[in-house]
């Protein structure tokens, strides 16, 4: 398929002045194409606008300039059908059980009860939540709660999955395992994945391509291809190419990170 799955053309995001703060030029201009079925990671120093980029693609924020396209159609105002988002904060609804959380989007979309049950059962099994389907999020660990959020997104069969630092609050070992989970998910659903992360090793290990953003206002400095095969998992960290990719990323990022620290 030649046409990109999602595309940003000359997109900028400027936050207007409010409450005594000045206007903030958060992002752009950015030109960027996401190929169908690829796994793309975005890294960059803090405050560079990575999350803003994700929300622009998702349709959660309007672009101040330029066009955001998804599957050939412009994105504006409303999140388009076919996109799923996993947020950085714990987005699981504390007042619903795991099962009800996962079923939430389906039920609101008016899918009939039998179909809901079938799909929810599938995804719960797929994400390894079977033993916890009647528990409430408060009873689960951070990693499990993120799995619930991922399951809730997956059950709607999104063609593009956006993840905003989904493993930020987790410990290193859990992160690595969740990374493997994410790869499995990506392979088995055939979805396109856009991952925002501040962890270079995570980006280098998981993605087909990594976009490196500059300090604010964020623009892509470079996009690096990793050349991994589709059947990969966390054990590629042992390969020398992994070290090379990570080193390249840090080389690009180091300057920008120092700049970002200055901004504060």
């Amino acid at each position: 398929m030649d046409s990109p799955h999602a595309e940003l053309r000359g997109v900028s995001r400027i936050f207007p002045a409010r409450d005594g703060h000045q206007e903030v030029h958060a992002l752009g201009p950015v030109d960027f194409q996401l190929a169908r079925g690829e796994f793309f990671a975005v890294v960059g120093p803090s405050g560079c606008g990575k999350s803003t980029l994700l929300e622009l693609v998702a349709g959660l924020q309007p672009a101040s300039a330029g066009d955001v396209m998804f599957e050939g159609r412009a994105v504006s105002g409303q999140p388009p059908e076919g996109i799923g988002v996993v947020f950085q904060e714990d987005a699981s609804f504390p007042w619903l059980s795991v099962r009800d959380n996962v079923a939430f989007g389906l039920r609101r979309a008016g899918v009939d009860a039998a179909e809901v049950k079938r799909r929810v059962d599938d995804v719960i099994a797929f994400m390894g939540l079977g033993d916890f389907s009647h528990a409430h999020p408060a009873q689960l660990s951070g990693g499990m709660r993120q799995r619930v959020c991922i399951a809730r997104t997956l059950v709607l069969r999104p063609r593009l999955i956006l993840l905003d630092e989904p493993f930020g609050a987790l410990d290193q070992q859990t992160r690595l395992l969740m990374g493997d989970e994410l790869l499995r998910l990506w392979r088995e659903t055939g979805a396109t994945v856009l991952l925002i992360t501040h962890a270079l090793d995570e980006a280098a290990m998981l993605s087909d391509r990594v976009g490196v953003m500059s300090a604010r206002p964020g623009r892509f400095i470079d996009i690096i291809g990793t050349g991994w095969s589709r059947e990969r998992d966390s054990r590629i960290v042992a390969r020398p190419e992994f070290g090379a990719v990570t080193a390249r990323l840090w080389n690009l990022l180091r300057e920008e990170s120092i700049k970002a620290l200055g901004h504060g």
Partner: protein, 247 residues
């Protein structure tokens, strides 16, 4: 709550009750029979009232007005609070206005209400309702505003309509605050209805109260206040239990 904890809680309740009664009696001895009534005398009078038909006739009067006022206050307060919580702008504009309206000594609006509604049931209901509306609205509004932004984003990703967002995400998330507001609204509506009766009526519990105040019947005043408090406390306990059962 497991058995041991529930039992220790009951034990603590008894200790508290005992402590309060002792403190009350001590205060009575200090202040004299003109200022306070002893616990024993108060409880005896309260029991007498509960047994008297006349009292129940008055209580029903009050109950009717209270019921209507409660309905108005809770539904109106919920609607107002939901709207102001959901629409950020409206909420910001209204916040200090609500605060000021809440601070107005509504008893000074009593003449205005009387002039508008005349003596009788509608004045009592109006008074009760304006007392209860504000706590419900304020608590609801604050509860909704405190819903984490991530839940709103999630709702948008699911393309929920505004009503669906309110009913399936905002209200369940803010349930604790809304419930607290309803409980306080319940109590303040009761107070408001009573105040309405103090002046606008020739029957009802409020009327008995003011008669007791005029004739300086200390025991009556205290017995009635005690009954009111006990009623409000019992109702609150029921609402609390309902909350826990549903939540």
């Amino acid at each position: 709550m497991n058995g041991a904890r529930a039992e220790s809680r009951r034990g603590d309740c008894l200790w508290l009750a005992l402590g309060l009664v002792v403190a009350w009696h001590a205060l009575f001895l200090l202040a004299g029979a003109d200022a306070l009534a002893a616990p024993a005398a108060t409880l005896r009078r309260a029991a007498q009232l509960l047994a008297s038909e006349r009292f129940w006739a008055d209580a029903t009067e009050t109950g009717k007005a209270f019921g209507l006022a409660c309905l108005l206050a809770m539904l109106g307060g919920l609607a107002l609070g939901l709207w102001l919580g959901f629409h950020r702008r409206a909420g910001e504009v209204a916040d200090p206005i609500l605060g000021s309206l809440y601070s107005i000594p509504k008893i000074t609006l009593y003449p205005v209400i009387l002039l508008i509604f005349g003596l009788g049931l509608s004045a009592k209901v109006a008074f009760g309702a304006i007392h209860g509306l504000f706590p419900v609205a304020i608590f609801t509004m604050n509860g909704i505003r405190q819903v984490p932004a991530v839940h709103l984003k999630t709702a948008r990703m699911f393309n929920l309509s505004p009503w669906a967002t309110v009913s399936t995400v905002l209200m369940p998330c803010a349930a604790a605050e809304i419930a607290a507001g309803l409980r306080i609204g319940f109590s303040t509506t009761l107070l408001g209805t009573l105040i309405g009766e103090l002046f606008a009526s020739s029957s009802g519990v409020g009327f008995i109260l003011i008669r007791a105040m005029d004739t300086h019947e200390v025991v009556d005043i205290m017995a009635l206040t005690f009954l009111l408090f006990a009623f409000a406390a019992a109702a609150n306990a029921v609402l609390h239990a309902l909350e826990r059962r549903l939540g």
